[in-house]
């Protein structure tokens, strides 16, 4: 039961995040979606390593308190969280500059201005 809950929750987060990215036109909303999606993926990765009845992978003076949970996904998730944060920081910096440059964060307007500046004639 906990498994379906966790997996359901994780995939739910991914779906909500993707919805925000795919169906919303405001760039800030897309970045929120990105953060939510990455959280969902992290939860999925962490819950893969869970062992019912397992203990946290912290030894007490060298001895394992009991059967341990799989430590590797935890290491991966830790790395993934920090990666997510790094990318989020860069995204927000870019959002600030796009806002100052184009005065709007609406995707359609940004895309049109972007193509105009790239000089792609709508032949």
């Amino acid at each position: 039961m906990t498994g379906t809950l966790l997996y359901g929750g994780a995939i739910g987060l991914v779906i909500i995040g993707l919805y925000a990215i795919v169906a919303r036109r405001h760039l800030m909303r897309n970045i929120f979606g990105l953060a939510v999606m990455e959280s969902g993926v992290n939860l999925l990765l962490a819950s893969v390593g869970y062992r019912p009845g397992g203990h946290a992978p912290i030894l007490v003076a060298g001895a394992a308190p009991g059967p341990l949970v799989d430590p590797i996904p935890q290491a991966l998730v830790l790395t993934a969280i920090v990666i997510g944060f790094g990318v989020l920081a860069l995204a927000l910096a870019l959002v600030v500059r796009v806002r100052q440059a184009y005065g709007t964060l609406d995707n359609r307007a940004v895309a049109r201005r972007l193509r105009a500046e790239n000089g792609e004639a709508r032949s």
Binding site: P73, T79, L94, V98, A111, E117, N118, G119, E120
Partner: protein
């Protein structure tokens, strides 16, 4: 036979140290940053060259990080294929080092980070480690895309970042699936477990998710909508580097996954479909493109579609063709981008360019002839290898792939020579087209010289590529080298 070579970490460590130290220096002496950066790249290139020589002589090198043996720790595995692309990356970063106003601290640091990330991507033999290095390359390329500091640059970089991050998240889900099924992350270990754990739909779905992540950088069809925007907005040197080499790294990593972990024909079919769509999208969009820069953006999509097609043919011949196509594209496309950087605006406005810059126009003609695949030029031998591999294992999909490839070549020849004829047409009102300063043309001429050299030494080059392909296609031998080290 393989050797344990701890020095294999240098191509990653040296640029990293350079990247960490550069900001410290850059705050005071801005122009020193560029020089310091180039020295670091040269240093990294020389160590990579030394590594390549030892690998060419003594066979692939394996090094377990931290002394922890293969399935537990992270392993670096370098065979000749990895070394080839590592050297190509080093050369490209050196050749396209940011110049002029862009050479302040920021872009140089990002270039070094890109070099470190790319080297790690190619050398690493661990699934999650490849994801981490892929992320480094990705973040560095988002930053470089914005390094032009133009409004379009920021917007293009942001949209690229969002698309790339979605791809990376899908890739992470794929890694989670694989770890859930197999319990290990080492590619060699996976290649032994995969036959009975990853052959079902879950394995194929995991590959598709991995490919979704890699596809963003490897410009596969549904994932490359960022290509025209970013290459148009980023400085030409960045576009040349991204299109020329970095996209190839992602494609080679995809090849590693296909060879080692997903040898079934499901994965090959996915690559085949992605390749066909890539060639179609690239060539047709380029046919209708407005400016030269946009044409070459779409043309790089098409070329990478061809590389995907080559890799989708299982066996050493397909890989050899893929390497040849990727290498040839890595030489030709950056030169095209450097030319397009100077010839901005719609192609029509460039009439009579042959009078203003004859050298650039003749270089354009030679590059076009080679990328179309006209016999004396190396491009023909790359396509020749592809057709030989394709017809060796003909299946329905491969026939379509060959037809699309050949039809794509005709369309490519049409839009390239449509531009050439405009160059040779006599400009009506004597308008002058932009001239080339030597510094701008130098990298392109260098690459043109490399192309002509390759034309002369095609036989030894071909032999070494097929040797590389045989080595890279033998998953069992790779696994044996990594796992059965006897430490």
């Amino acid at each position: 036979m393989s050797q344990s070579l701890p020095a294999i970490i240098y191509p990653v460590a040296i640029p990293l140290m350079g990247a960490f130290l550069l900001p410290i220096g850059a705050r005071r002496m801005a122009e020193l940053a560029g020089l310091f950066g180039r020295i670091v790249v040269l240093l990294s290139f020389s160590t990579s060259l030394a590594l390549a020589v030892s690998i060419w002589t003594a066979g692939p090198a394996v090094s377990a990080m931290g002394g922890f043996a293969a399935p537990l720790g992270i392993v670096f595995y370098a065979d000749r294929l990895a070394m080839l692309f590592l050297l190509a990356l080093n050369v490209a970063v050196f050749l396209f080092w940011p110049r002029g106003q862009g050479a302040k601290g920021g872009p140089c640091t990002l270039m070094l980070a890109l070099l470190a990330g790319g080297s790690g991507l190619i050398l690493s033999g661990d699934l999650f480690n490849i994801f981490v290095f892929y992320e480094i390359t990705a973040v560095a390329s988002y930053g470089l895309a914005a390094s032009g500091r133009t409004h379009a640059g920021f917007a293009a970089a942001l949209r690229f970042l969002i698309l790339g991050s979605v791809g990376s998240s899908l890739m992470l889900i794929g890694i989670a699936l694989i770890y859930a099924r197999t319990g290990t992350l080492n590619l060699a270990d996976l290649s032994r477990i995969a036959p009975h754990a990853l052959t079902g739909p879950v394995g194929l779905a995991a590959f598709i998710l991995l490919l979704a992540g890699l596809g963003v950088k490897a410009e596969l069809v549904p994932l490359n909508t960022w290509v025209p925007e970013v290459y148009g907005a980023a400085p030409a040197r960045v576009s040349a580097l991204l299109a020329g080499v970095v996209s190839k790294l992602a494609m080679v990593v995809a090849l590693r996954f296909v060879v080692q972990v997903f040898p079934g024909d499901g994965a090959h079919t996915v690559l085949l479909v992605a390749g066909i769509l890539g060639v179609l999208a690239g060539e047709l969009a380029a046919w209708r493109a407005g400016s030269l820069m946009e044409t070459f953006s779409y043309s790089s999509i098409a070329q990478l579609g061809m590389v995907a097609l080559a890799f989708s043919i299982s066996g050493a011949a397909g890989i050899a063709a893929g390497i040849a196509l990727a290498l040839h594209h890595a030489v030709v496309k950056p030169a095209f981008f450097m030319l397009a950087a100077r010839w901005r605006g719609p192609v029509g406005g460039l009439a009579g360019a042959v009078k203003d810059s004859p050298l650039a126009v003749w270089l354009f003609v030679i590059l076009s002839l080679s990328i179309i695949g006209i016999p004396p030029f190396p491009g023909f031998w790359a396509k020749f290898l592809f057709l030989k591999a394709a017809f060796a294992a003909p299946s329905a999909g491969v026939w379509i792939a060959v037809f699309v490839m050949l039809a794509g070549t005709v369309v490519e020849a049409a839009y390239l020579f449509r531009a050439v004829l405009v160059f040779f047409a006599d400009g009506e009102r004597g308008g002058s087209t932009p001239r080339f300063a030597f510094a701008q043309l130098a990298p392109a001429l260098g690459l043109g010289a490399v192309l002509l050299a390759a034309m002369v030494f095609i036989a030894p080059l071909g032999a070494s590529i097929s040797g590389m392909a045989d080595e890279a296609s033998n998953a069992a031998a790779m696994a044996a080298r990594v796992l059965d080290r006897g430490e």
